[in-house]
Amino acid sequence: MKRLSIAESIRQAIAEEMERDETVFCLGEDIAIPGGWGGAFTATLGLEEKFSDRMLNTPIAELGFFGAAVGAAMMGMRPIADVQYGDFLFLAMDQIVNNAAKMRYMSGGTIRVPMVMRAPIGATGRGSQHAQSMERYFIGVPGIYVTTVSNAYDAKGVLKSAVRDDNPVLIFEHKLLYGSKGARAESGTIDASSDIPDEDYLVPFNQADVRRQGEHVTLLGWLLMHHFCMAAADSLGDQGIDAEVIDVRSLAPIDYETIGRSVQKTGRVVIVEEGPRTGGVSAELAAGIMERFGDSLMAPVMRVASPDVPPPFAPDLENLYRPDTARIIAATRHIMRN
């Protein structure tokens, strides 16, 4: 058992999977450079020392190397492709949406695309083009799985499950949760480290997890917002509101079984999402809950999200942009009035 950050547990997961299976390899920008960064957030730092043939540093060409990952996966390899910032996924969009996601269907079920995509997201002092929440753009793309990791234990176990799966899996990570150290450290980091078992373990990438039991209301969040939901639940407890908190984790598919059990118990739902309110994942969650468990609801589903503006730069603006515990508490108190 060892305490690791998300960046460290991802590094360990990749190393162990490459050790276990020689078809696993990494490709991305600024990886495998001795004296370099190990990717933008140190997740692959030093892995080139042991796996020099399987750590492929790419040109700055997201469309190109995501396409290469799809092609290699089709031919029996298991690539792990990462972008430095999730925003760059837009550059790779054609290969992800038109090729990775559809190759199996178009081929009548004869092709497998076992690839993992990793992407850091979140508003973190970088303004509009390095801080977007990208999940929304991918949850409506049949053929890929979309998941998130909010602590180091999940980060390792989910990544390993994704590597071993025969489908494209897109994993979103949050810049404020990595726990990156040295020159690549982030300010404003939240502790997401975990005790990592010595033995091999897997975490399914398609399941939600109830992290706090409660009776009155269900708080749904993922990545950084899940941590904020936990903090809000503590405060709400002091005010006599017993909140159940679920780390939604998997965004495509959504684990309605776990979420439904909670909704049927509490009858009230607050969904918290970093990213603009309109067209977000929370809209899909709200509709899905209404369709399945609407009869159990005692109040309309509430959303807490960023306003419909691009991610701003100024720290004051960014703090207004990103949902925080105060807004989660206010929304929850509001829904409890019904």
Binding site: G64, G67, V70, M74, M75, D94, N99, G108, P114
Partner: protein
Amino acid sequence: MTQLTTHITVDRLNRYDAAFVMGLYERMVLIREFEEGVKFMFLEGTMPGTIHQCQGQEATAVGVCSALDDDDYITSTFRGHGHALAKGLGVQEMLNELFGRSTGCCRGKGGSMHIGDMTKGMVPAIAIVGGSVPLAAGMALAFKMQKTPQIVACFFGDGATSEGAFYEGVNLAAIWDLPALFVCENNLYGASTHIDKVTRVEHVADRAPAFGIQAQIVDGNDVLAVYEAAKRAADECRTGQGPVLLELLTYRRTGHSRRDACHYQPKGERDMWLARDPIELLGRAIVERGYANIEQLEAIRSRTETEFNEMVEIAKQQPPPTAQDLLEDVYA
């Protein structure tokens, strides 16, 4: 300017045995008859979907694929029927697919624009222009990492060379010395737009030095020239010398798609290319050499047409996919 063939000489034919030459001819005739038959059915309204055809470009597909091994792969485009037939897909499984039947090579989920069959070494065609180039680089990367002798031939049109995907994909193949054969079928038009309107350099191959790779311009209507260039390039790729770009000069006799009547193709240009039809070029040489006479060549065409028509009737009797089929094959 590359010399365009107006006459395939007997000397050139003599480098190959009769069976090989007749095989090239028959395969080109198969593609032509397939495309003409499909065009008729599309226009009469019995075949669903949209359609992009390759009449006039048969030599590029057949010449390149004849230079590949069975376990080599190709990637293709929305204009992929010729590539498929050249790589060995069966007419029946293709017709079943074009008619949207569950017994099609993609179970009715690919159609004309995504025709393919991995067991024959053809990735379902990529209908996004340029989208297959990075994909092919990745396939070649896998071959290199797995230390297999396979290569991938990536077909694309002149239009694709304006796409960013082309630059990113070819560059990856170049820096990693990947066994990829990049085959540009330059038929002068991206849909209705002439390449001169969208490209400043004279030849697509002029771009190769910018990647640091080898390139060759070849008469794409001369199937022997295509075969020879592709064979040489394939050998280079296979032996670790990195990717090669082949620019095959050819011409599309038919419209870009559907009912396009090609009014944008100038008469002089069109006449020049139609006079150099790839099937007729080889056919004349075959007759001159005595591998077959005109009647025998006509018999090949007529037999191909008859067999095609029989398979059309079979395809029409195939079962359509079901509601359950709709939901299958999304995830492995």
